[in-house]
Amino acid sequence: MIPIGYTFVYSFNDSLKSNITWRGFTFDKWLNVCNVQNGAVCQAFGNSLFIGAVATVAATTLGTMIAIAIVRYRFKFRSQTSLLLFLPMATPEVVLGAGLAAQFLSLGVPKDMLTIILAHTMFCISFVVVTVKARVASLDPALEEAGRDLYGSAWQVFARITFPLLLPGILAAALLSFALSFDDFIITNFNSGAVTTFPKYIYISAARGIPAEANVLASAVFILALVVVVTVQVSGAAKARRLAKLS
């Protein structure tokens, strides 16, 4: 909590270039986030959002498919598949990043946005599988059977029963993927080429002092997340109370 508070407070620092010593309170940084250094902070931030979004969609799709297959079907090489899914989680990020970087290098793949997305998707898949799998496993197959029994074709049953019921799990997985991707530095650093993401921007600027604008953006994300989570929780609690009253 302390560092978060620190970050927040220093987003109001009337600093020059580096944001180390306290020089007075100002809202300027909040108002002009994208106006310094040709908007480099904002661009990095935007890159991170974009990469996070694409990687999340890709990883969530692939991971959800795998999760459904693992719980609902029998197939050969089950244990090998499980191992393949577990390994990325047990591999330190340096190794993942370095390995992939070496691979791209020897294949002559230029490092840019695409390589970052490919890398992020890779390490997110396992987390998605784990998250969604739990949800699939707790999904009563009788519900799908009931759907079929009530004249739903295979596709209708998937679209109207299976998918909506898995949605909370899928959303949780997506959120997790996004958070992992958005905050990843190590793997990104090895595979980003010239593209700058938000963490990378911070890392690079760490050397010469982080501009207060970075604090502004980080604090903004934090506050936004806080507001969203609190709203969800509070409305959930209110709903639960209403439910309790009903019964």
Partner: protein
């Protein structure tokens, strides 16, 4: 019977030579069954006997390895689940948690593109007296209410055949009895064919028009509840449907109307038309409530069988009636029920008693008593417990 149309009345169901093998296990063996249209049919049997499997075969959720399934005369063996004019009320209800009660009920109608699904769903909910909760989610309902939604969700489709897989299994006794009555009422009102799976014999007896008792993938006996109870054909049925006192012995004489069986030296008479086997070693029996306790040896009379003397080894009061366990030397322990018409037990532990019953109340089984007991493990648990207890008591007394 086409889908997209409502059944205006129940259809009959015919299973012809159905067989279902799972890898390494045969769950159903040559099953033949006809359920008349509009009847309330109960499939009764112990856990694992194949009830659910039968039902899933009818619903099309499982494919038979052999045989044919006909609904209203039409062969549906190769139809997919969603094409059959059949609906199921699942044991766990399987209500869709992400839809309101109304959406749940309208689901099937919408899939079949039947006009005005919402109005029809409301009607069905009115029938189960839950229309005021139409906009709740299933989680917000009590167990009994959920059960009624499940029923409405199935009934709204006016299926020719409604399958119920222990829909009351999850309820506690009180609610269960209440639901039984409601189910029965609704069936009578809408006139559909109900195929009800249960392992609760009391439930089957109070609700069904016809009961089939299933055991190890086969139908042991089928008929009206009272008929099955009064005249069980096998030891399995005799003990699964209520309790029985069974005796084994050779037929020693036969008249035009009855057979006499020697049970450890005492002669017991069974009417010919109530005996499935009439010669050789046979098993005969009588229900505990048909027995009368006597504290003096009853005088022999033509119409009554008498056993005794025996000793009362346990008396247990249960409110409405009292249960006595009577050990008769050479024969074993008999169970007697006596309604508490008066205060206090008719006999106390340790008392010497005789037992008698109307000859017409006995029955003779079809089982070959020399066979190894086929259903040993499926013996009524209460009986096992009673037997265990009395053996314990004997031990204590000896010690």
């Amino acid at each position: 019977m086409t889908i997209g149309a409502f059944a205006d009345r129940g259809a009959d169901l015919q299973l012809v030579g159905i067989e279902k093998r799972f890898p390494g296990f045969t769950a159903i063996e040559n099953l033949n069954l006809t359920i008349p249209a509009g009847s309330f049919f109960a499939l009764l049997g112990p856990s694992g006997c194949g009830k659910t499997t039968t039902l899933r075969l009818v619903a099309g959720l499982e494919e038979p390895t052999g045989g044919r399934i006909l609904i209203g005369g039409a062969d549906v063996t190769n139809q997919k689940s969603f094409q059959r004019p059949v609906n199921t009320v699942f044991q766990s209800y399987a209500l869709f948690p992400h839809m309101t009660v109304l959406e749940n009920v309208a689901f099937g109608l919408r899939r079949r593109k039947i006009g005005d699904p919402v109005a029809k769903a409301h009607e069905a909910l009115l029938l189960v007296e839950l229309d005021h909760l139409a906009h709740r989610r299933p989680q917000q309902l009590s167990g009994g209410q959920q059960q009624r939604v499940a029923l409405a969700r199935a009934i709204v489709n006016r299926p020719a055949l409604l399958l119920l897989d222990e829909p009351l299994g999850a309820l506690d006794l009180k609610l269960r009895r209440q639901m039984q009555l409601e189910l029965k009422t609704i069936q009578e009102e809408v006139g559909l064919t109900f195929l009800h799976v249960t392992h609760d014999q009391e439930e089957a007896m109070t609700m069904a028009d016809i009961i089939a008792v299933m055991n190890k993938g086969r139908i042991e006996q089928m008929g009206e509840p009272q008929q099955l109870y009064e005249l069980p054909k096998t030891a399995f049925v005799a003990n699964f449907l209520g309790q029985s006192n069974l005796f084994t012995g050779p037929v020693v004489s036969t008249t035009g109307t009855a057979i006499a069986v020697d049970v450890s030296g005492q002669k017991i008479v069974v009417p010919l038309e109530r005996a499935h086997r009439v010669s050789g070693a046979v098993t005969i029996g009588v229900r505990p409530e048909k027995l009368t306790l006597h504290d003096v040896a009853p005088t022999y009379s033509d119409g009554r069988n008498v056993l005794g003397p025996g000793r009362v080894i346990d008396v247990s009061f249960s409110g409405v009636s009292t249960q006595y366990l009577v050990a008769v030397p050479g024969i074993g322990t008999l169970v007697v029920f006596a309604q508490n018409m008066a205060f206090g037990p008719a006999a106390h532990v340790g008392a010497e008693v005789w037992l008698s019953w109307n000859v017409n109340h006995g029955f003779g089984l079809d089982d070959d008593p020399t066979d190894a007991p086929r259903f040993e493990a499926d013996l009524d648990t209460k009986t096992i417990a009673q037997q265990r207890r009395s053996s314990l008591i004997t031990e204590f007394e000896e010690a």
